[in-house]
């Protein structure tokens, strides 16, 4: 087999190799560690784009690790959806890394670059794996790295939020393992494609257990996606994390959404007996409430970073409204919105940081402060990020929400979905207008403007994120066509199972 056949393992292998090298050179030559970080991110982007180009025609690449044939060994499966998530991760990683390096946030502790690469390894692995236990392992890899990154920079606020974040995720991992144990006991396999075929043969007396396993698994993914009522860990954690890290974490909730999209149609689709679409009836109400709670949080937030954290919850809720339809059109619209909302959430966190860096002791609190230098640029960026997040024209949020509204109109509960999406958009616009006018227009009396920041390069990373959003809007036609094709592929699990399971030893 040629080198090109090894393409699906590279998104996991590159950060796994880069992390220890970055760790080795970190103390003596920090500049070299930065170089390794950027080189690894660029290589991952190149590999992800190559993979996307190879699978965009509809082929499914199954990579059998150690050449063990599919249901027995572990497989990595690269299809349209996985490639899309890989490209998104790589782009987001570049933006977050750029911001961390420019603002020198990576110098506040010794292990930023190794942890960052391990985080990417966990993310890429979770998107690629075709094995349910392997998904758990990659979840743990990305969580362990995220604990370190979240605590990067230290300080009491971060430690407090960190304890809660770690405890919540440990409980989530325990539930994940219980669901896995149940599924393995019932089906005798851990390969997702194989499990999707074997759930049909589960004995009638075990149907109740199967349903429990499906709901447990869905609630673990909902915990990762921060769906109401499992969202309480998110705002404090994300608002306390280093901004560059919080920008990368914008994709962490999407890992939960991705897992739902991947596992529910493949394992708990038609023919799964009592577990067929078991999580589906719970998903739409939870998504509707998440969107409301998230944008209500945007309205009441006391600081820009807290506002960004609530915007992440709200946009995940909007995304899940589309996903909960489980139709090809609505899932395709949801995938387009997923890419958009990840980049928009990251842009909000980064803009909150550039504001905080310019306001001195006032930080990013949503109250009038000094007339700081560089208000114009920061205000423009905040406005662009707010427009993208709430979904006003001309940026991709508008197109994404339009696609979602159009696609859910064909579904039974469309009235609720329309009401919530349009209502939360309105509340979000008011919330962002409120904080924006408090921070950029009003000035407090008797306070000195802090000295101008030593570099204006820190505008680069949020500008890059906004440029990606602009590109996503300009290329909306081809992007949404790709998203629709990816959704169609996810919703036809029989073909993908055939592609994975016929992969023999090479």
């Amino acid at each position: 087999m040629s080198l090109a056949d090894h393409l699906p393992i590279l998104p996991v292998a590159i950060p796994a190799l880069a992390a220890p090298f970055a760790l080795l050179v970190m103390r003596r030559r920090p500049g070299l560690a930065v170089g390794i970080g950027f080189a690894a991110c660029l290589a991952q982007l190149a590999v992800a784009v190559l993979l996307m180009e190879r699978v965009s025609g509809g082929t499914i690449l199954a990579y059998a690790l150690g050449a063990w044939p599919a249901p027995f060994g572990i497989v990595l499966v690269a299809d349209r959806l996985a490639a899309l998530m890989l490209v998104l991760t790589a782009v987001l990683a570049l933006i977050a890394l750029l911001h961390a390096v420019v603002t020198k946030a990576d110098r506040k502790g010794w292990h930023f670059h190794p942890l960052f690469q391990f985080q990417l390894m966990g993310l890429n692995g979770a998107f690629l794996t075709g094995d349910l236990f392997n998904l758990f392992v990659f979840f743990e890899v990305l969580l362990i790295a995220s604990y370190g990154l979240m605590l990067h920079g230290q300080g009491p606020a971060r430690l407090k939020a960190g304890v809660q974040y770690v405890v919540v995720n440990l409980v989530g991992s325990a539930l994940f393992l219980i669901a896995l144990g149940l599924l393995y006991a019932l089906t005798g396999t851990l390969n997702m494609a194989d499990m999707g075929l074997r759930v049909r043969d589960v004995a009638p007396e075990d149907q109740g257990l199967l349903r429990i396993a499906a709901l447990l698994l869905a609630s673990v993914f909902a915990l990762k996606a921060a769906v109401v009522p499992l969202h309480l860990w998110l705002p404090r954690t994300y608002a306390a994390a280093t901004p560059a890290v919080a920008a990368l974490f914008a994709i962490m909730t999407k890992v939960g959404v991705y897992s739902l999209i991947r596992v529910v149609p493949q394992v708990f689709g038609e023919g799964a007996g009592a577990a067929a679409w078991a999580p589906a009836p719970w998903l739409l109400p939870a998504a509707l409430v998440s969107a409301c709670v998230g944008f209500a949080g945007v309205f009441t937030a006391r600081s820009l970073s807290e506002q960004a954290a609530y915007a992440v919850i709200g946009s995940t809720g909007t995304l899940l409204i589309a996903v909960a339809g489980w139709s090809e059109a609505s899932l395709g619209a949801g995938l387009y919105y997923l890419v958009h909302s990840t980049l928009a959430g990251a842009a909000l966190f980064l803009v909150a940081d550039i504001v905080a860096r310019r306001r001195g002791s006032f930080g990013d609190t949503a109250s009038p402060g000094p007339a700081f230098d560089g208000r114009g640029g920061a205000a423009l960026m905040f406005m662009a990020a707010a427009i993208a997040t709430t979904g006003l024209p001309p940026l991709s949020g508008f197109i994404g929400k339009l696609l979602i509204l159009q696609s859910v109109a064909a579904l039974p509960n469309w009235g609720w979905a329309w009401g919530v999406i349009l209502g939360t958009t309105f509340i979000g616009v008011i919330g962002f207008a409120r904080t924006g006018s408090a921070v950029f227009w009003k000035t407090a009396e008797n306070c000195h403007a802090p000295p101008a920041p030593d570099t204006r390069l820190d505008l680069a990373a949020p500008a890059l994120a906004l440029a990606c959003l602009a590109a996503l809007s300009a290329g909306a036609g081809s992007a949404s066509a790709y998203a629709d094709a990816a959704a169609a592929q996810v919703l036809s699990p029989v073909q993908s199972a055939a592609a994975v399971l016929t992969e023999g030893p090479r």
Binding site: L159, K160, A161, V163, V166, A174, L177, G181, A185
Partner: protein, 130 residues
């Protein structure tokens, strides 16, 4: 009583104790609760390959009756991960206690609590040393 009943009730007791402790306010009890839950999960995973007695775990062509080896490998992975996680959360809880002066999970100080402020004493004692 059957073997299955014993294992199942042990898992149930561990989960019940774990949930009770994990809902307590102080980090130390929460860590203990998480440890109990992880023990229960490990036992549960082990039992997911069905409980069989006196059978070899590894498949051999001459053996027709064997116990499932895969859950044992899964349990090993789960044990390693939860062990590392528990060590991490202990250190994190200790660090958080020393920096914020409170070992409540929500991180807020509680007035009239004899244990709160203990970390300040520790910090003072440390700062008095040269």
């Amino acid at each position: 009583m059957s073997y299955e009943f014993l294992v199942a009730s042990a898992i149930g007791m561990l989960v019940a104790g774990g949930i009770f402790l994990a809902l307590r306010a102080r980090t130390f009890q929460v860590v203990l609760g998480l440890t109990l839950i992880s023990y229960a999960v490990n036992l549960f995973l082990f039992a997911s390959g069905r409980l069989v007695l006196n059978r070899p775990p590894i498949w051999d062509k001459t053996v027709s009756q064997y116990s499932d080896p895969l859950p044992q490998a899964l349990v090993l992975t789960a044990i390693v991960i939860t062990f590392g996680m528990t060590a991490f959360v202990v250190i994190l809880a200790l660090r958080s206690f020393l920096e914020t002066g409170s070992d409540h999970v929500d991180g807020d100080r509680v007035p009239c609590d004899a244990q709160d402020g203990l970390a300040d004493g520790l910090a003072d004692a440390e700062s008095n040393e040269p």
